[in-house]
Point group: C2
Chain length 354, copies 2
């Protein structure tokens, strides 16, 4: 990966426009062109083994601990948005899913579904961004696949990443472990990713450009675990946002979660955009935010650790699991002291946000 410069300088696309300016169906056909695409674009951007050791899969040394395994497909539109692109998102999303299992992310797979006619330059930029994001998150892309579909049967680039991580502790992190009295810690302000993508898609010009919060969050989570925090549950706040994640956890763990609206950080520009667009920031997707349930007595120490990492510098306690509450329920105490029930949306606010 020496060819990728850390200062943002992008080397030019290794398949020159004079040979292939666009992806053609044959780039997915298994022949010489597909091999060229893999070699010049994907292996150049993402790294890989020498030819003698290339396989249908990667063979990896066994990690010493339980495994975490996750997958996500990425269909975000547009491909590039303030604060990220589909390549960095595809790394952050799966790295964060592993972190939410309390795992240290190790390896990613990358499956590309390309639409015929995609600009080769675009693919190169996305692959480069993916390689950089993987490097920054400390994971390696170790295996991959490419398919090409006819023009009009896809939408530029879809990416699937699956991730393997190692669980190096004995905590059983899951909704089933949530207990009455637990503190609910939020890792930072909410709503930025969804608004950034929407504004970019619709060409909305807000006064300040809102950047996605897309980022890897494994480092602060692993720090919490190393410090001995008895984490009960973790959840990243992607599709459906904070509200949906809390309802999922409350329903699965049969507890009552109460959160305090005034404690949930929402940037002023995000709040303003949400008001203009008719969205509730609690339901807007994030890609670098999570909630952590743990015993209230550990909340102070946990906040201190989280705030020492830039990605979770804005961490705060936003609520509690009530003693003897209404199982499966999430309630919110508003700024004026009123209480309302938080429901899971039936559908969605924003399609193709990730």
């Amino acid at each position: 990966m020496e060819m990728i410069q850390p200062d943002g300088f992008a080397p030019s696309c290794p398949i020159p426009a004079s040979s292939y300016a666009h992806v053609v169906l044959a780039h997915g056909g298994g022949g010489r062109l597909m091999h060229q695409l893999i070699e010049k674009i994907f292996l150049a951007a993402l790294g890989g083994p020498d030819p003698g050791n290339r396989h249908d899969g990667a063979v990896l040394a066994p990690p010493s601990g339980r495994l975490a395994f996750t997958t996500d497909s990425y269909v975000v539109r547009p491909l590039f948005f303030p604060g990220g692109d589909i390549g960095s998102l595809a790394v952050h999303g799966s790295v964060n899913d592993l972190a939410m299992c309390g795992a240290r992310p190790l390896w990613l797979s990358a499956g590309f579904i390309l639409e015929e006619g995609l600009a080769m330059e675009t693919l190169w930029k996305v692959a480069l961004s993916m390689g950089r994001a993987a490097g920054a998150a400390g994971v390696r892309v170790v295996t991959g696949d490419t398919k090409v579909v006819e023009h009009g049967k896809g939408d530029g680039i879809f990416i699937n990443t699956a991730g393997i991580g190692v669980v190096e502790h004995d905590l059983a992190i899951s909704p089933a472990a949530v207990r009455e009295g637990d503190a609910v810690i939020l890792s930072g302000d909410v709503g930025r990713h969804g608004i950034a993508v929407l504004a970019s898609r619709e060409g909305l010009g807000f006064e300040s450009e809102i950047e996605s919060d897309s980022a890897p969050v494994a480092a602060p989570v692993l720090d919490l675990i190393r410090a001995g925090a008895t984490i009960h549950c973790l959840r990243d706040l992607t599709r459906g946002g904070l509200a949906t994640s809390l309802v999922e956890i409350a329903e699965a763990s049969r507890v009552h979660v109460r959160i305090d609206e005034s404690a949930v950080p929402v940037r002023e520009d995000v709040q303003g955009a949400c008001e203009l667009l008719g969205f509730d920031p609690l339901y807007v997707a994030n890609e670098g935010r999570f909630v952590c349930f743990l015993p209230a007595a550990q909340a102070g120490k946990a906040l201190e650790i989280l705030r020492s990492h830039p990605v979770s510098a804005g961490a705060c306690e936003v609520g509690r699991v009530l003693e003897g509450g209404d199982p499966g329920r999430v309630t919110l105490t508003s700024r004026i002291g009123a209480t309302r029930v938080i429901e899971m949306l039936s559908g969605e606010q924003l399609p193709r946000i990730c």
Copy 2:
């Protein structure tokens, strides 16, 4: 998985047409509808943990051996074809990639990209088929993801599976291990998958219906390893077929492979279809066939083991790695004794075959 009957009886779609006959964007939105889709379709067909243990990923006991990790996306058109469908294919493909690493397949992830408007019944049939194929291949689908894209931005169903397997031996199976004098074993007749899909896509009626060879091949491979075969290299013969796989291996291992055309089994109906359509069966995709390179002295025993499994009952020796040949070259001795060089195709014969 009790609801799935082994006799081919398919239970009716758990989301009735009266509520949702088709997939809508909100089925991918992270809200109540997405949860219903996951619960009623995917978990019903594929199995899964109870709600209190549902996560962004699966946490799995560490296997005792090196790990194999692979991924493939499936965009086959049409979704259903003689001998299989996109669901069974998505299981067989990744199981076979793990087998080609010499690994015992353990776990799969499943990522679905659905097109708005897809018939719910179709999705259910595919998920059921996937569950059955996983059961038959001895793997578990342990984690998944669903995205929905607008009508016209996808093509019904795309599936990505990633697979994890365990390598329970010390062989280093890769092109780098291929040696001069090695026998080249082919596991059965070639060309059926590609022709079955093409005939079904184009509505071609051949005299006999040609069925795909799509099937899991891990069992015979693991039997070979258990019997002590010193396998040097394995490769499944998917996109690009036998010819492309041999060129890949010859180039990567810098050896000269010679195969004997008359030794390569091609069914008469497949040969006839290929002649009609202008295809060379050596380049047509298979989904249940592989080549195995191993010392020639072990070929007899290896064939005996492979032929004891229905999926590789037609195994035969098709060629050798020449001593002192032309590195990186594959040559074929034709039925009339002529020799020609086998090249990798530049593009492809058949788009969207898997």
